[in-house]
Amino acid sequence: MSCAIHARGLVYLYPNGHAALAGVDLHIAHGERVALLGPNGAGKTTFVLHLNGLLTGQGSLEVAGLEVVKENMREVRARVGLVFQDPDDQLFMPTVREDVAFGPLNMGLDRAEVDARVDEALRAVRMTAAIDRAPYQLSMGERRRVAIATVLAMRPKLLVLDEPSANLDPRARRELLDVLERIDRTMLVVTHDLPFASELCERAVIISAGTIVADARCDEILSDAALLGEHDLELPAGFDPARVERRPRPFDDRRPRATLGSLS
């Protein structure tokens, strides 16, 4: 099964007529890790909400081998794991265990399978010890990792992260990278954090004013200061994209493979 994204001429108008997406064409192949960059209000989050059918615009969108239309919605949402920017929005159940189980239960899995999924997902983000804690007792970095576990438990084909490194201190940010690099999934990472993108993703796409304005290798895009400046993106002072060592992929065999499900 393909876990690619194919968007063709995707248009979304806000009720006031403002075009949040003005014809997005984006193709992401199976197994890619892509950073979606862009200034505030460029339509990044709007695009991401389309991938899960939470917003529907004009044009065609195919995700993980399925047309995103009403009839497929249940299956689409099971295949696309969407991690929201604020973990407090994502974690709404009284305990971590219940929250991680929420998705699998909605998929109608039986109890033993749900327990196995919860365990597997929490292990993948190294949060097993927090299983009976309440989300508000966790630090921001821990909450973020649990939020990722809540979608991993659904074994999505495609992982979409909205600003995963926002509000994290450097250490929590590094731990998040450690966790993400082992997850063997097609990944779309929406971010402002260019160093984060360059460590994790090999390809970057810039979206600006509702259209894709650049699509190339991550290091090429980040070395193009003029392009970045044009779209209100900026590298931290002293940061040299050429000297970034990209995180290895789980299938590089340089590190143990992630044990999460099978990527079919």
């Binding site: 949402r77 099971a78 929201f84 929005d89 994502q90 009284p94 998705g103 909605n106």
Partner: protein, 231 residues
């Protein structure tokens, strides 16, 4: 857990002349508290928050309730029935509060919610309570941040019109919470929410729990019925 509910129910349904039942309730609660190793100070500290409010209301009853003998204390009259009601309310309120405190000290809130579910309380109520529990702390955090922001800009309301700023804080809070509600709903949809909240564990109601409830409830109910029959 459920036994404490029984204690409260029995206590509430007991009319004044059967006052020994209240002693029975208190004894049972004392045993439970001792068994769970809850220090008396904890119970007292927590009960102190609620009790004065309840008792404050009760204090006025003897002066308004008519019936039985009446005595005049200066300008006001006190009725016998009123005094009985006062005592009854005090006893019931204390028993109810303390049993709630014991429940709070022995059981985590998620467990209470699951217990309510198991007792077939409508899902809507338990869901509202669950979300309240989850987001109360988030909202309290937000309020504290806003208060800090106000205070750090020298906001110290002295005059009535300065309260306006506080009103705006409240409305900002409402808007933020509303926006968060929408985002939470999106997050639920994104994980396949279809209108029905899935249930992870119905609480394992073990034999020991059944025994506990049966013991507490039956002994108290029996006590209550026996006394009721005697009078």
């Amino acid at each position: 857990m459920l036994g404490l509910l029984a204690v409260t129910l029995v206590a509430i349904t007991t009319p004044f002349p059967l006052w020994p039942v209240w002693v029975g309730c208190a004894t049972v609660m004392a045993i439970i508290a001792a068994g769970a190793r809850i220090p008396a100070r904890t119970i007292w500290r927590r009960a102190r928050v609620i009790l004065p409010l309840v008792l404050f209301v009760a204090v006025f009853i003897p002066f308004f309730r008519k019936g039985g003998e009446e005595w005049s204390v200066g300008p006001v009259t006190v009725s016998e029935e009123g005094l009985q009601t006062l005592l009854a309310i005090c006893a019931k309120a204390t028993i109810g509060t303390v049993s709630a405190v014991i429940l709070g000290a022995t059981t985590t809130f998620p467990d209470v919610l699951r217990a309510l579910d198991a007792l077939r309380v409508p899902r809507l109520f338990t869901l509202i309570a669950a979300f309240m529990y989850r987001y109360l702390f988030v909202i309290v955090d937000e309020v504290q941040r806003m208060r800090a922001a106000l205070a750090s800009r020298g906001y110290r309301p002295r005059r009535a019109w300065q309260v306006g700023a506080f009103g705006r804080v409240v409305s900002a809070l409402f808007l933020r919470s509303y926006g968060r509600g929408e985002r939470v709903y999106l997050a639920m949809l994104a994980r396949g929410f279809g209108g029905v909240m899935p249930q992870l564990d119905t609480l394992a109601f073990r034999r020991a729990d059944g025994l506990f409830v049966a013991l507490v409830a039956s002994s108290l109910v029996a006590f209550r019925v026996a006394l009721g029959a005697a009078t």
